[in-house]
């Protein structure tokens, strides 16, 4: 009994430590990220056409979009002056962005892993815009945010409008999650095989261990 209590309290403390390290980040909306290539492609379109006015994704090249199933023509359709082998850099010069917003809007290549519960954070941020009394937009998650309400979420008047923008933002998160971790699909599928192999191998080792040790009286 004492043993059980000890083990339980150790586990509880360990969980406490882990949660201490993951500090709460305001109220985050829940989100199950759609990891399909279709969602990522839709998100890519929104990010390239809307977000890249101010944000860059310098670690992603346009041609990387082929990895989420886009053809060369589909990719080139989204380009303006850029070439397909270019990195996704904002077309607006840095000085102008800095002037308008007080600081350079952060690069989005890693944003979903650069914040705790990143995907939920980004989704909540993009859909937490509201109008203050003085007619200025503000954000529940990030008070005093300098980023404008790009997709006019605060302007939405019907539930349907809000739902549409939310769907678009979910796709944006899908794309950004891929951008931060482009090998996630390969990693997980390889991982399944590795774990299966290890379970088989470890079971064999266990059986062999039992057999060898059974020789001792």
């Amino acid at each position: 009994m004492k043993r059980v209590l000890v083990v339980l309290s150790v586990v509880a403390l360990l969980m406490g430590v882990a949660s201490a390290m993951a500090s709460a980040v305001g109220k985050l909306k829940s989100l199950d990220v759609d990891e399909s290539n279709e969602a990522r492609q839709r998100g890519a379109e929104t990010v390239i056409s809307a977000c890249m006015m101010c944000h860059s994704l310098k670690y992603v090249k346009f041609m990387d979009l082929a990895d989420i199933g886009m053809s060369k023509e589909q990719i080139e359709y989204l380009l303006e002056d850029q070439k397909i082998e270019d990195r996704m850099l904002s077309l607006m010069p840095m000085e102008i962005r800095e002037e308008s917003y007080g600081k350079v809007p952060p690069d989005l290549s890693l944003i979903t892993i650069a914040r705790k519960k990143g995907p939920q954070y980004v989704y909540t941020l993009l859909t937490d815009y509201y109008y203050q009394e003085d007619g200025e937009t503000n954000n529940y998650l990030f008070e005093g945010i300098k980023m404008p309400d790009v997709l006019a979420y605060a302007d939405a008047e019907s539930d349907q409008e809000r739902a549409d923008i939310e769907a678009q933002m979910r796709d944006v998160v899908s794309f950004l999650k891929w951008a931060a971790d482009p090998h996630s699909d390969e990693r997980r599928s390889l991982g399944v095989y590795v774990i299966i192999y290890l379970v088989i191998f470890t079971t064999l080792l266990y059986l062999l261990k039992r057999r060898i040790w059974s020789r001792l009286h």
Binding site: M63, F201, L204, L205, L208, R211, S214
Partner: protein
């Protein structure tokens, strides 16, 4: 724990041991693969396996040097005179017909590395001359005088259209 029985049936114990060892060996070999693979050219390097050349920028009679996979490539816009000359002539050291070295007669594309010991030959009126040991090449890139043993190498290339070629394979 019938240890005696197990000792009497060594084949059963050996089979388990053999299977476990085999499975383990497969795992070890498999685990090596990513490390070996990581030493191969990475994605950004593999992209550089082709180079685009804009032929419009090369006037008749002139030669441009472009880069492909880190190597210099001589792209020559040959005049009719030179073409006729090369069609008519042949060489002894590494015999090859001029028409077998070009896709379109007025464009010669060769790797600008001397086949002797790797220096970059200098352009002359009648071809190239290597400053290192004196090898001489003609306007088809064929070796006229050694010590180079072979003609200048023709890389794989393709005409995308009249005005553009892509060197190398994707």
């Amino acid at each position: 724990m019938a240890s005696d029985k197990d000792l009497d049936r060594p084949d059963r114990r050996d089979f388990l041991g053999a299977v476990t060892t085999a499975v383990g060996a497969v795992g070890v070999v498999g685990a090596c693969y990513p490390f070996v693979s990581s030493m191969n050219p990475s994605k950004d390097v593999k992209v550089k396996s082709t180079s685009l050349v804009d032929l419009d920028s090369i006037p008749e009679g002139k030669t441009h040097t472009v880069e492909w996979q880190g190597k210099p490539i001589f792209v020559v816009h040959r005049t009719d005179e030179v073409i006729a000359d090369m069609q008519a002539s042949s060489t002894d050291i590494d015999p090859q017909a001029d028409k077998d070295r070009v896709q379109q007669l007025q464009w010669l594309v060769v790797i600008g590395i001397c086949t002797h010991l790797g220096c970059v030959p200098n352009r002359t009126e009648s071809g190239w001359s290597c400053p290192c040991h004196g090898s001489i090449y003609d306007n088809s890139g064929r070796v006229l005088r050694g010590p180079a043993p072979k003609n200048l190498v023709v890389p794989p290339y393709e005409f995308i259209n009249e005005k553009k070629i892509i060197i190398g394979k994707a």
